[in-house]
């Protein structure tokens, strides 16, 4: 015997003690799918047979069942389930999660059950208990359907039980295997002419019957149409629309979900008493001139419609009034009701229409939800949902969304067929202003496309403090620079970092061509400038304003002026630049004075004084030569160290002396430039330098073919010269651009830094070049830093992608916030 069970359901096994429920569960289901009351009694009371623990045991069982169902997992309850109240608890859990409750009844002769019970040592109750159970079972059989079980399988006798087989059935709404491509059409409301025009515009070819009425449509590229419902009412030809759509659905060329207007029409056609309002009378009048057989077909068609569909591997959901995430792929009365009517707050607006609950504003699902129902002047993506009802019948337009390209295609209505009760305004569907704290706090798992990451709650708390107190407006803060890993430690004598390691590392990652960019020693600056100046900002690597408005504003004005031609050339009214602000002392002046230079001054005062003491002692004939050598070395080291930081100190006064060295143009309106190669980025940077050579500093660079040792040698010489002249070093980047990937399509490090020998004195200490110290430092562990750099880089790229897609601010912000949170991970700050 085949037992049909929906893929996602709550299955209650029903049977008396000794009927073989546990054996049945073991045979047909995975152990983790089965929740047994005995097990939960044991869990709460250390005794599987302690009936006094049943109440607590079922509390826990229901809780676990609820968690499983919420996650979309089939759940089987192995308990006698002979009493109404016990089954009612299960039906309630199923309904709370909008899954179908299923009963499988194991009906064995009482004598057999008693025999089995006696054979079990842990069952101590008497025969009369089994008899009572059996009586309960008989009584239960007739009640199951009424109690809400949507499928009831009764297996009579051991043979039927032994022969049973479970067959999983998909829910009707589960069309995840349908990949389209789709043309999703908004509310038609009897506007047949506009529908024909729209289908024509989308490339469909209409089939007409002998009277010239369209009865089907085919797309030469095999596209599939999806109607979001409300085909009928108010408009001039509801029967004509039905005829066409019914034909398309029947031929397999279209899918259709019902709207509230179809629902009401079907109720009327089924003889129910409904109010003849909102354009229904027009439809009924139009149907009167139709053949009764056609009207019967309409009735059957509407009765057979499924309230929502999950399509394209779960990436697309279509429902007439939209659908919140918890209801996707679920089946229950309230899911259907939500899909048909949406959720209302219980209030009415000034036109007497129900106030709709703005579910889309809270939507956080990964599936795109496409719907209609509420006429809006312009379709707009809100949190990955879009309403296609553009009020055709009210004289607006009929709109279709092409999936997966997300392209909108519309035709204007020929006229206003019906006067709207209220004007078409996009009320309550506008995304909320500002950001919601629930989107960033607590422990969060983020799938950002280039990878997945978990933000620990404590890192999020730290990031919130920075974001809340110090950052520029989080909606402006669309990107943060990732941290950068240094190259692997070099084995070259006297060097901790050396170009050869950087080249080897990138070559190993599958990169064939790199660009070596001079590493400017200043402060990282991200600049957003626009043609109009609105929303412009410059921020640091942790998202803070740079110097404060008195200096930031004039600085931005100059960048804006220089970037003028680029706005036109790139076709974007704003640009996001990645740059270094120079000199280091402009922003880090007090850090240099108090820390780096202080150490230098102390060393330059103490060491010569000590050397003088030693010289005097030596003159007295004391043997202090070894100590003197050591202090002399120290003195040379502190001089080297002092020269290193001094190179990054330049006088500035306000903005005088401050320059920006741009090296990447990250994004513009609707576009991320992450895939552009570095020649492109640096050419744009050069244009800025040319436009305002005082403000901008060029980035010297050299392109290296990693297969050519001569190229490498030249770059190494270049690096040696650069660092000998006081330069910090260079960054070696895959030439292909920010989003460079390896052969497996995984992101590679966007750049590795290779810092100069003298520069590293201010990082690792003046004396780090001593052989024994270098040996120890070469053991430094780069793993953490590299994985952090890659994660932050991926999050940043994803933020640029989402920004380009026009994603809502919180979708971009959650990623930028995650970058900031990642920065509170403990990683060696010298790397």
């Amino acid at each position: 015997m085949i037992l049909d069970v929906p893929e996602l359901s709550l299955v209650a096994l029903v049977g008396i003690s000794g009927s073989g429920k546990s054996t049945f569960a073991r045979t047909h289901f995975q152990p983790t799918q089965v929740l047994s009351s005995d097990f939960f009694r044991g869990l709460v009371a250390d005794d599987e047979n302690d009936q006094s623990a049943s109440s607590d045991a079922f509390d826990v069982l229901h809780y676990v069942a609820g968690k499983r169902l919420a996650a979309g997992r089939l759940t089987v309850v192995d308990a006698t389930n002979l009493q109404t109240h016990a089954r009612a608890g299960l039906v309630k859990v199923a309904r709370e999660h909008d899954v179908l409750p299923v009963a499988i009844v194991l009906d064995v002769p009482e004598s057999l059950a008693w025999e089995r019970t006696q054979a079990r040592e842990d069952r101590t109750f008497g025969r009369q208990v089994v008899t009572r159970m059996h009586r309960d079972l008989r009584r239960s059989l007739g009640q199951l359907a009424r109690e809400g079980f949507r499928k009831i399988h009764v297996l009579r006798g051991v043979d039927e039980i032994a022969a049973a087989e479970i067959r999983y059935e998909k829910l009707f709404n589960d069309l995840r295997t349908e990949h389209g491509p789709f043309d999703i059409v908004g509310d038609v409301h009897g506007c047949r002419a506009e529908l024909e025009a729209l289908l024509g515009k989308l490339g469909w070819e209409l089939t007409r019957d002998e009277q010239g009425r369209p009865v089907d449509a085919v797309h030469p590229e095999g596209r599939k149409a999806v109607f979001v419902g409300d085909l009928v009412d108010r408009g001039p030809d509801s029967p004509g629309v039905l005829r066409l759509v019914m034909g398309m659905v029947k031929a397999g060329h279209a899918l259709c979900v019902p709207g509230n207007h179809e629902q009401k029409l079907a109720r009327k056609l089924n003889g129910r008493n409904v109010q003849l309002t909102h354009g229904l009378p027009e439809t009924l009048e139009q149907l009167e001139s139709e053949d009764p057989a056609f009207v019967a077909e309409v009735r059957a068609f509407i009765d057979g419609l499924i309230s929502h569909y999950v399509l394209d591997d779960g990436g697309l959901v279509v429902a007439h009034a939209g659908l919140k995430e918890a209801y996707h792929g679920r089946a229950s009365g309230r899911v259907r009701s939500f899909a048909l009517y949406g959720e209302t707050t219980g209030e009415t607006d000034e036109y007497g229409l129900p106030v709709r609950y703005p579910w889309a504003k809270e939507y956080r699902g990964s599936a795109a939800v496409v719907y209609g129902h509420v006429p809006t002047p312009q379709p707009e993506w809100i949190n990955n949902t879009i309403c296609l009802d553009t009020g055709c019948v009210f004289g607006g337009a009929l709109t279709a969304l092409r999936w997966p390209s997300r392209e909108l295609v519309a035709v204007q209505a020929a006229k206003e067929y019906y006067a709207p009760v209220r004007p078409l305004i996009a009320v309550a569907t506008k995304p909320d202003q500002g950001l919601d704290i629930a989107d960033v706090t607590g422990r969060r798992h983020i799938d950002y496309g280039y990878g997945r990451t978990t933000v620990p709650a404590e890192n999020a708390a730290a990031a919130l403090e920075v974001m809340g107190r110090f950052s520029v407006d989080p909606e402006t803060l669309v990107w943060l620079p990732p941290t950068m890993a240094p190259c692997s430690s070099s084995t070259v004598d006297g060097y901790l970092e050396h170009p050869s390691s950087a080249f080897a590392e990138l070559r190993a990652a599958g990169v064939s061509r790199v660009v070596c960019e001079e590493k400017h020693m200043g402060s990282r600056a991200v600049v957003r400038v626009s043609a109009s100046g609105a929303g412009d900002a410059i921020w640091t690597r942790t998202g803070r304003p740079f110097f404060g408005p008195e200096l930031d504003e004039p600085l931005l004005a100059r960048v804006r002026a220089a970037a003028g031609p680029l706005f036109t050339e790139l076709g974007s009214d704003w640009l996001l630049l990645d740059a270094e602000l120079l000199p280091w002392s402009a922003k880090a002046g007090s850090l240099i004075r108090d820390h780096y230079a202080g150490v230098g001054a102390a060393g330059r005062a103490a060491l010569p004084a000590a050397l003088r003491v030693l010289d005097q002692a030596s003159a007295r004939g004391l043997d202090v030569a070894a100590l003197r050598d050591r202090l002399e070395l120290r003195s040379a080291e502190i001089d080297g160290y002092s020269a290193a930081y001094r190179a990054y100190v330049k006088p500035t006064d306000g903005l005088t002396g401050v320059t920006l060295a741009p090296f990447a143009v990250l994004a513009g309106a609707g576009v991320s430039y992450a895939k552009k190669d570095h020649d492109w980025h640096l050419a744009l940077a050069d244009r800025l330098v040319a436009a305002d050579p005082q403000l901008f500093t060029p980035t010297r660079r050299m392109i290296v073919d990693l297969a050519d040792p001569a190229d490498e040698a030249a770059a190494t010489d270049w690096w040696l010269a650069l660092t000998a002249a006081g330069g910090e070093g260079m960054v070696v980047k895959p030439w292909a651009g920010l989003a460079a990937t390896d052969d497996n399509g995984r992101l590679v490090q966007p750049g590795v830094k290779c810092r100069g020998r003298e520069y590293l004195r201010i990082i690792y200490g003046p004396e780090y070049t001593r052989p024994e110290q270098l040996d120890r430092l070469r053991q430094r562990n780069l793993g953490r830093k590299r994985s952090l750099a890659l994660r932050e880089h991926g999050l940043g790229l994803a933020a640029l992608d989402r920004l380009a897609e026009g994603a809502p601010p919180w979708r971009v912000h959650e990623l930028v916030f995650a970058i900031l949170a990642a920065e509170s991970e403990p990683v060696d700050p010298r790397l």
Binding site: D436, I437, E465, D594, A601, P829
Partner: protein, 454 residues
């Protein structure tokens, strides 16, 4: 890393006896942070100088992790005189520090003409003088300049002390005051440091005008230790008349007046369920908890450290259950919408808005008045006009204040917010008012007037 002690008392070479280090040898000692050397650059009958050179081994220093963290690798420890040098001094000159001498007991007990030089010591000339001059030293402290590129002086001074003192006293002064000036202990400050402080400070610390600063810094700012040490010091010294408290009518400080004004405003609007937004360490929460009128109190702050402080201050883990049920602490940032803040009778923003950058203030307004939308909102902020009464105040009242408003500016803001979000508002002063400048604090009480449907 270097200090020298010179005497000119003939025969000056007797210094070697007092220090128990022969002038004609180089003495080396292993200390936890490297090697300490004692040698004599000059040793004649007229003038004898002992030098203590500490050769710090950065690697061994690094092993003592706790003290330096980020600046572990680039720091002044190998160069500047610090607790490292003081520790070495204590080890190398142990008996001299005690004032003991087997060979020259009478010399150890008598004052000598002494000259001390420390070529690099963190501190200002002024502080060095304040610390050493009261002990009988003539102090020359020359600031060590930074390089010309940067200009100005570094935080280090080259110190020369001249005086007639017992050698033991001089060494004890250095032992305590070098770490005090350096103000960064290289080891974990444990309670037994109090004993060291009292032992080396015997006879001079109790009467030192800077004893509070010395105790605080020596005990590395651990207030409870410093307090204990100061109490023990007091025991040595008879209380002087000035120190006795005079029976003056105590005026409630501004913070207290502000707290009372806020609670009064909340009472005025009959609030029972209240939010303290930006609760900080919980100063207001304590007052709210004491008042049974408030049945549900939520303290919210962006800083998790502040929330921990508040929890400690309120003794949340020890409150009886009924009390504890009334109060909750949550982390939030007021520039974000937060559903947890909805549905309250009142919200308090006590000295909070001035910590938000002006461009970010609209986000706070929308989150509080638009989204959380309590029935009443109490806002307090400084009145900048009153600042003229704070002597020596330059700039704003707190380093984190992003702005401070005049009464007119605050009133404008309050009425704009009231109109925008459908509230009625009254503005009043808190604290003793001045005729011209008004009160030090200003308070606005907003009450909801129109319910806006979503």
């Amino acid at each position: 890393m270097l200090l020298t002690v010179t005497t000119t008392r003939r025969p000056a070479t007797d210094l070697g006896y007092l220090l128990v280090k022969h002038p004609d040898r180089v003495h080396a000692f292993d200390v936890p942070t490297g090697t300490a050397y004692v040698m004599y650059p000059e040793a004649t009958d007229d003038r004898c100088t002992a030098a203590l050179v500490l050769d710090v081994d950065p690697q061994r220093l690094r092993a003592q992790k706790d003290a330096f963290e980020l600046s572990q690798y680039v720091n002044d420890r190998p160069y500047a005189a610090s607790s490292l040098l003081a520790s070495a001094l204590a080890k190398v000159f142990r008996s001299a520090l005690r004032g003991a001498s087997k060979d020259r007991p009478e010399l150890a007990a008598s004052v000598l003409p002494l000259e001390i030089r420390v070529p690099a010591l963190r501190g200002t000339s002024e502080l060095v003088t304040r610390l050493f001059a009261p002990l009988g030293w003539t102090v020359t402290a020359t600031p060590i300049p930074l390089e010309a590129e940067l200009g100005g002086d570094s935080r280090y001074v080259d110190v020369r002390l001249v005086g007639e003192l017992r050698l033991a006293d001089a060494l004890n002064h250095l032992y305590i005051l070098l770490p005090v000036l350096d103000d960064a202990k290289h080891y974990w400050v444990a309670p037994d440091e109090i004993e060291k402080l009292l032992r080396s400070g015997a006879g001079w610390l109790a009467g030192h005008p800077e004893k509070v600063l010395i105790a605080r810094r020596y005990l590395a700012h651990r207030r409870s230790l410093a307090t204990t040490a100061l109490q023990l010091l007091e025991a040595e010294e008879p209380a002087t008349e000035e120190e006795e408290e005079l029976p003056v009518a105590r005026k409630a400080p501004l913070a207290e007046q502000r707290r009372d004004a806020v609670v009064a405003a909340l009472t005025e609007v009959n609030a029972a369920r209240v939010l303290d937004l930006g609760c900080g360490g919980g100063a207001l929460l304590t007052a709210l908890l004491k008042n049974r009128q408030f049945t549900e109190i939520v303290g919210a702050d962006v800083s998790s450290r502040a929330l921990e402080q508040a929890a400690r201050r309120l003794r949340l883990d020890r409150l009886p259950e009924r009390q504890k049920d009334r109060i909750k602490l949550i982390q939030t940032a007021l520039t974000y919408r937060d559903d947890r803040l909805r549905g309250f009778d009142a919200a308090v923003l006590m000295e909070v808005i001035e910590h938000v950058d002006l461009p970010r203030l609209p986000a706070l307004e929308a989150a509080v008045f638009g989204h959380a939308r309590p029935t009443a909102v109490v806002v307090t902020t400084p009145n900048v006009e009153y600042n003229v009464h704070y002597e020596g105040l330059t700039g704003m009242r707190h380093s984190d204040h992003r702005f401070e408003w005049t009464r007119a500016e605050f009133a404008d803001w309050a009425s704009r917010i009231a109109t925008e979000y459908g509230y009625a508002v009254t503005v009043r002063g808190v604290g003793d008012p001045d005729e011209i400048t008004g009160s030090p604090t200003q308070l606005a009480l907003f009450t909801i007037s129109t319910e806006v449907t979503a």
